[in-house]
């Protein structure tokens, strides 16, 4: 596979300071074939459908079964501009027609695990489902593709994307690792089939699932890259409790966890294993947010919502929570450090980021009183049964809100019921939610905060056409300076003026793993680089 730097197309993303400090040892050794990689996963997948899901619990065990059209270069996963072909042939070509047409040639030697050949029509059917989902089909990232006018296959091995306007956000959006390529004939029969079944073209074939325990994959001997994968098989072992996962690595029952451990666990593993453990660290394009149910009183009132964010001491939280959790950085809606992200001075102008927390909480109390919020009532706080960082941040938030007189009862649910509450039941007043993205691409990553009929993953049940208009304008602008101004306006509306949703703290990724795991490189996302085709074991 060859890679190119899409400087022209991704100019907006160039110069990003993604502070990755991959600390893996030099890998001069020739990759060895064979072996079984055992890794731990903190939660089970709610479904197998990549287009619908937004969680690592699906990506980590399921991604190895699928291929993408293009992907982030696995040898350089920290880059925000380095993309290579996966199912397409050659290199990722520059667009034509003034940046509005992208053409991809599809490989001819690719077979689905069912034995059928892959053609351009399968790619088109997949992206039709992702970009233009029919009613009743959830496509969590459809808002990434607002620039796309059409996807067509002029012949069996060519795919053409036609855009409404040139956009530097298109190629990064195309490389999103959730965009599993599905088989057209299956989708034609039942669009829900992939929620419960697996049939991809990835480096591994699905072997079995033991509910609550493990998902197993075995080498795909028909994989389209000769000599890959290096591994014979993998076991994705589900272990909800963090202490169990740490002990699994310590006791060599598992080699790695791809999501991330808090500093305390890293220190314990390094102390116990010495040179047998390697630590890779990175900034993380992932943030816990607070989704407020706009349909529930009193949080249908903007004053009550502003009070919620004003009560939270983010600067103090960063200092203390970073010692016990995988959160660290205070930021706005865009990935901190990116040129489109707010500076500290800009953040301090927003509600909830004021440097004086006493003043902030006094204002919160005033707003609660003005809005007539019933402080004797206990409100419903929905959280996910994942230790890091959900339960820790959730408990911290409840303590922050308690300090302005708001009482919340925490309802902690497993991943499936947690999403069911967010997507279907909607009985919560406030919920933990997250905006974890793969490729760092802020101008589409912030689509989470669009109106619920535009965003595929906004569960606060609000519509904000001012925010939608700013998002569209930002995406259609080719000027980074103008984009930055628009991003600030969108941020101000979302977090402050309309108080639609709130950012808590951005994450910090720490991966301590057994040193014999080779070929895997950390990225600013726990979704990226999980195909496992380049991973090998130095045993």
């Amino acid at each position: 596979m060859r890679s190119i730097r899409l400087k022209a197309v991704c100019a907006v993303l160039a110069g990003i300071a993604v502070g990755v400090s991959a600390a893996g040892p030099a890998e001069a050794a020739t990759p060895k074939q064979g072996g079984n990689l055992q890794f731990v996963v903190p939660a089970e997948p709610p479904s197998y459908d990549g287009h619908r899901e937004t969680t690592f619990a699906m990506i980590h065990p399921i991604r190895p079964f699928y291929s993408l059209l293009i992907r982030v270069n696995p040898e350089n996963p920290s880059s925000t501009t380095d993309f290579v072909c996966d199912l397409c042939e050659g290199k990722v070509e520059a667009p034509t027609d003034g940046g509005k047409v992208y053409t991809f040639k599809i490989r001819k030697n690719v077979k689905f695990h069912s034995g059928d050949n892959l053609t351009a029509h399968d790619v088109v059917a997949t992206y039709q489902k992702i970009i233009f989902p029919p009613k009743g089909i959830v496509s969590a990232r459809k808002a990434y593709y607002t620039m796309v006018e059409s996807v067509t296959a002029p012949d069996d091995y060519t795919v053409v994307f036609k855009l409404k306007y040139p956009s530097g956000a298109f190629i990064p959006a195309l490389a999103v690792p959730f965009n599993f390529i599905y088989q057209k004939s299956v989708l034609d029969k039942d669009m829900h089939w992939y929620e419960k079944n697996i049939n991809g073209t990835g480096a591994f074939r699905f072997k079995e699932r033991e509910a609550g325990a493990v998902i197993r994959g075995v080498r795909n001997t028909d994989f389209f890259v000769k000599g890959r994968p290096y591994l014979d098989s993998f076991d994705a072992i589900f272990a909800k409790k963090e202490s169990l996962r740490v002990q699994a690595i310590r006791g060599n029952r598992a080699a790695i966890e791809f999501r991330g451990f808090p500093p305390k666990s890293r220190d314990d593993l390094v102390k116990a294993l010495g040179n047998d453990v390697t630590v890779q660290t990175s900034d993380w394009n992932c943030v816990l947010i607070t989704t407020v149910n706009h349909k529930r009183k009193p949080f249908d009132d903007v004053r009550a919502r502003r009070a919620l964010t004003l009560a939270v001491d983010r600067w103090g939280g960063s200092k203390y929570l970073s010692k016990i959790a995988i959160v660290k950085t205070v930021g706005g809606i865009a990935f901190p450090g990116h040129e489109l992200a707010a500076t500290k001075q800009e953040l301090e102008q927003l509600a909830g980021y004021w440097p004086d927390i006493k003043k902030s909480r006094a204002e919160a109390k005033r707003l609660l009183k003005e809005a007539g919020v019933d402080l004797s009532k206990t409100y419903y706080f929905n959280n996910r049964a994942v230790d890091q960082p959900y339960k820790i941040v959730g408990t911290w938030l409840i303590d922050q809100w308690r300090q302005v007189g708001l009482k919340f009862e925490q309802h902690v649910e497993q991943t499936g019921p947690f999403y069911d509450q967010l997507r279907n039941k909607k009985e919560y007043d406030v919920s933990i939610d997250f905006n974890c993205q793969s490729v760092v691409n802020p101008i589409v990553d912030v689509s989470k905060y669009l109106s619920d009929d535009r965003s595929g993953s906004q569960y606060g049940q609000y519509k904000d056409r001012e925010v939608d208009a700013l998002f569209d304008k930002m995406n259609q602008s080719g000027d980074p300076k103008e984009q930055r101004v628009l991003m600030r306006e969108m941020e101000k509306l979302t977090l402050d003026t309309h108080a639609n949703a709130f950012i808590t703290l951005w994450w910090n990724r720490i991966i301590p793993h057994r040193s014999y795991v080779k070929g895997w490189k950390i990225s600013p996302s726990h979704y990226l680089n999980q195909s496992l085709d380049n991973v090998w074991l130095d045993k």
Partner: protein, 303 residues
């Protein structure tokens, strides 16, 4: 045959009860303490725990949910006698308030489980026949599941939270109490005063609730005290598994679940004190239950 057995044993029992009843309270209590020294010690433990739970707002040195971020995972000290957890919350205050959670859930579910079991057990024995046969088979189904498995299943259906934990603990208690009470009620059903009540035209409900159930108090109380320890342990187990009460509520099992495992090496006090509280509470209630059984069970008393 049953009537003859009753005729032989009743006078001795009545005589012993009358003799005990004639003793002044303190003398009777003193006699019980001498006969049940472990029971007396456990009673002190139970009373202490009840007092701690009732007086929690007065005796806890800190707010149990207030985080002191400058003192996260702090070792025991003058300010924090038992240390703090990973959020800097005072462990002593959380252990004290945790007693309230444990007792509230423990007492509520034990009383509910035992009382519903009493009524169902007596009803089953009273009606007998196909009703008793069918009812006991249903009880057999419930009894086939271990306590914790049944509780887990109930929580899985109803969800987490204190109310649902109470339901989850109560349901498996019901058949256990019903089975024991039924065997006692079967004997009572044959005693002539029940026939007399029927002859006087009393309704089923009156006979069950006013004439049979009160005479099943001994097995009821024994089961109740046994359930208390089990309920506390079940609540702690469910909370430990993340299925019981949720943060930031102070609950012993939850305290073990929170940071206890992660900090077991560097801050062991986070696990030790709630673990100790669970152990002592369950031990006290179990010993107390045993002594109540020894006191009230005529067979054991005869020995």
């Amino acid at each position: 045959m049953k009537a003859e057995a009753i005729a032989v044993s009743v006078p001795a029992d009545i005589e012993a009860e009358l003799a005990a009843a004639r003793l002044p309270f303190f003398k009777a209590f003193g006699k019980w303490v001498r006969n049940q020294p472990l029971g007396a010690v456990s009673a002190v433990g139970v009373i202490f725990m009840i007092l701690v739970a009732v007086l929690a707002p007065l005796i806890a040195p800190h707010d149990p949910v207030e985080a002191h971020y400058e003192a996260m995972a702090a070792a025991p000290s003058i300010e924090y006698w038992l240390g703090t957890d990973q959020f800097g919350r005072d462990l002593l205050s959380r252990v004290i308030w945790g007693a309230r959670t444990a007792l509230f859930i423990g007492f509520t579910s034990a009383i509910l489980g035992a009382t519903i079991g009493l009524v169902l057990g007596v009803t089953s024995a009273y009606f007998g026949g196909w009703f008793d046969l069918l009812f006991q088979r249903v009880m057999d189904v419930f009894l086939a599941f271990p306590l914790i498995i049944m509780a887990l299943a109930v929580v899985a259906i109803f969800g987490t939270g204190p109310e649902n934990v109470i339901i989850a603990i109560t349901i498996p208690f019901v058949p256990r109490c019903a089975r024991v009470v039924r065997s006692n009620a079967l004997a009572i059903r044959e005693i002539p005063y029940i026939d007399a009540a029927r002859a006087l035209g009393y309704g089923h409900l009156r006979i069950i609730l006013r004439h049979m159930a009160p005479n099943c108090m001994a097995p009821y109380l024994i089961m109740l005290t046994t359930f208390l320890g089990q309920a506390i342990l079940l609540e702690a187990s469910l909370s430990y598994l993340g299925l019981g009460v949720q943060e930031p509520v102070a609950a012993w099992g939850l305290m073990l679940q929170g940071g206890a495992e992660e900090y077991a090496e560097s801050a062991p006090w986070i696990a030790i004190f709630p673990g100790l509280a669970i152990t002592l509470a369950v031990f006290a209630f179990n010993l107390f239950g045993d002594s109540v059984r020894d006191t009230l069970d005529p067979k054991l008393r005869a020995r």
